[in-house]
Each structure stands twice: as C-alpha cells, then as structure tokens.
Amino acid sequence: MTDDDFLTAPVPEPLADASPSERAHAKTFADIVDKAVSGRAPAAMSADDRALLEVATVIRATHGNAELAPEKRRSIVEDVLRQAVGGSRPAPSTLSSPMGVVRGRFAPWLVAGSSTLVAAAAMLVLWLRAPATAPTPQAPVAEAPMSWMSRPADPLFGPIAREQAGNASDRIDYLFADRLDGYRERRLSSGGAR
C-alpha cells in the first residue's frame, strides 16, 4: 500500500477486519508516535504520516501530557535570563560539563548581585549629586498697587476731630467705599490675583 492508497482505495466496511497492510501501517505509525513522544522523531516520513503525527502531538498537548525534560526546562529559563541581561547564548555543550552546571547554578545570583551593586552605585551617585541643583529662575513678581492692599485707614481720615469722635458710621462708609474701589480694580484687572 502506498500513500495514495488512503485516498484512492475503496472505503472498507465499518465492521470489516483490518487488512494486513492496514495493520502494518498502523504499527509503523504507532512506532513513529512513540518515538516522537520520547523526543526521537524520525527525520523522514511520508507527508500523510507527518500530518497525522502533528495532529497526534496537538491532541496530546491539549490533554496536558506534554512536558519538557527538567534539563531542557532549566536550559530554556537560563537562556531567557541571559538574553534579558544582554549575555550571549551559551553553547549547549557547556551546560553538560560539571563546571557548566556550577556556572549555570550561580549565574543568576551573579547577575542579581552585580546588577544590585550597579543600582546601588547609581543611586549613591544620584544622591551625592542632588544638592548641586541649579537655582531655578523665579517668575517675575510685580509690585501690587497700594490701592489693592489691605492697609491702615489712617491716611483716609487724618486726625479725628473731637466732635466727630463718635461718628464711626460715616467713617466706615468711607472706608468701605475706598476698599471696594481697590478690590474691584484688582479683581477686574487682567493680571489680578483672583
């Protein structure tokens, strides 16, 4: 049976026994699946088998049975961390040696320690440099006209004659009118503080 037989051969009866060629093909495909699961998928296979194998892999992955080997997992994590700090990707062979394993175990600590030291140094420099801040130019402050200001009422009245000593009512009227002028002037001027 060739690859084309699947498409061109007559459809067997549902309850019919499997033919020897079908059994042989099923066994071959089962072997391919077993090898793929154990990470030894054959490099060459028929297009139909490859399509079926991909479907089988997807089905297996969706059932949560796909799991990387611990070494493979560790290797991937370390590669990602190295890439994050700008390091080069190590050759796979270095991890397999005893020194490589030790280096791989301590590498994250080395990265963490050195980056923390650099961060501390940067913050120290920042802190030491902070007092030397340039004086910020101040916005110009204009003198407010005297009429806008709260001030003693003396100049409005001068000395109060004895016969006017109790005439506070007239004085408060005059004082109120004077302050109202200044208040309105300030409020209505374009630059006046509101």
Binding site: R74, V77, L81, A84, V85, R105, P108, W109, V111, A112, S114, S115, T116, V118, A119, A120, A122, M123, V125, L126, R129, A130, A134, T136, P137, Q138, A139, P140, V141, A142, E143, A144, W148, M149, S150, R151, P152, A153, D154, P155, F157, G158, P159, I160, R162, A165, G166, A168, S169, I172, D173, L175, F176, R179, L180, Y183, R186, S189, G191, A193
Partner: protein, 198 residues
C-alpha cells in the same frame, strides 16, 4: 534555583530603576514659563484686599447703619448691643483695617454707654481697646479723646455727688487731661509722618 532566578529578576529591575532615576536627574527641569497670572503676581496674597476683608467691612458698615437707626429712634440699648456686634466680627488675620474698625466701634460704644450713664462700663470698653493696641493710629488717638470725655463726665458726677467739692475729682480730671494729651501727641506724630511720606 527558583530563588536564584527571582533574585536575578529583582536585580535587573533595580538596575532599570536606577537607570531611570539617573536619566531623569540628568534632564534639566524646564524653566517656569511666566504666565499672565504670575507676571503680575502679588508679593503676599494675604496682604491684598480679600473677599473676607470686604465681607467684614460690609458687615461693620451694616451694623453701624442699624445702630444709627436705633439711635435716631432713641433706643440706645439696642444701638449699644448692635455696635458690640462689630467687635466680634471675623476679619482676616493681620488686616490693619480690623484694628481701625474695632477701635472706632469702641469709641462709639463708649459714648453710647456714657449717654446711658454707664461710666464704668464705658471706661472698661475704652481701656480694653487701648490695652490691645499694637500700632498708633488716628483711631487710637480718637479713643484717647473719648477716654478723656468719659473721665470728664466721671469728674462731673463726682462733683455732683460731693456738692461741688472739686478736690475729690481732681485726680480724675488730671487723668482726663492726660488722655487728651496722649491723643494730641499721637495725632501730631502721625500727621508729621504723613507729611514726610508725601
């Protein structure tokens, strides 16, 4: 191994934070651009004529008007209590107008009390005002004038009680003269200052 990985990530984050801070520190802050408001910014916002000051002055004006109506109606007691209200009006803290308005109200209040024969209460009203004075003004001088008037009235009462024996009221008269002198002295000093400033 897991802890080591977490440590590495924390270190990287710390480094990134430090780089961020250093970068920010090296960027000079833009100078404040003058806006229409701060170009004419008043030196001290507390010193300008504020809403609160205007409200207080308006209240004082209204109380004086009300007291005037009571006085024209002969109701001196109501006028007195109305003028008292002015003394407790809330003015902005440190507003010079507050002192002036209160001193002037005390002068009127004392006169109203004298008109009702309450000489001691009038004296107390004036003395309380003079005790709280923090700067000399024409209103302070006016209050000394009123104090002199009160003491004159007191001396007259003492004379009447002693059948015209003026020896017993001599001290009070002397105190009245001192009050008038103080008023004159303050007025002269302030007038001189005003002339110098013009």
């Amino acid at each position: 191994m897991k802890t080591a990985n977490v440590g590495a990530v924390v270190g990287v984050l710390l480094l990134a934070g430090a780089m961020f801070l250093t970068g920010r520190a090296s960027v000079p802050a833009p100078p404040p651009c003058p806006t229409e408001t701060n170009v004419t910014h008043v030196k001290d916002g507390r010193d300008v004529i504020s809403d609160d000051l205007m409200v207080a002055l308006d209240q004082a004006k209204n109380f004086h008007r009300k007291a005037k109506v009571y006085m024209s109606d002969g109701n001196l007691a109501a006028a007195t209590s109305t003028v008292r209200e002015i003394l407790s009006l809330p003015f902005p803290k440190g507003a010079p107008e507050a002192d002036d308005v209160r001193l002037d109200a005390r002068a009127l209040l004392a006169k109203l009390l004298v008109m009702q024969g309450q000489i001691d209460e009038a004296t107390r009203t004036v003395d309380e005002g003079l005790a709280a004075v923090q700067r000399e003004s024409f209103f302070v001088a006016n209050l000394y004038t009123v104090r002199g008037e009160i003491l004159e009235a007191k001396a007259t009462n003492i004379d009447a009680e002693n059948a015209g024996d003026k020896t017993k009221s001599a001290d009070v008269r002397r105190a009245a003269i001192e009050a008038y002198d103080k008023s004159i002295q303050i007025n002269e000093k302030l007038q001189k200052q005003l002339v110098e400033h013009k």
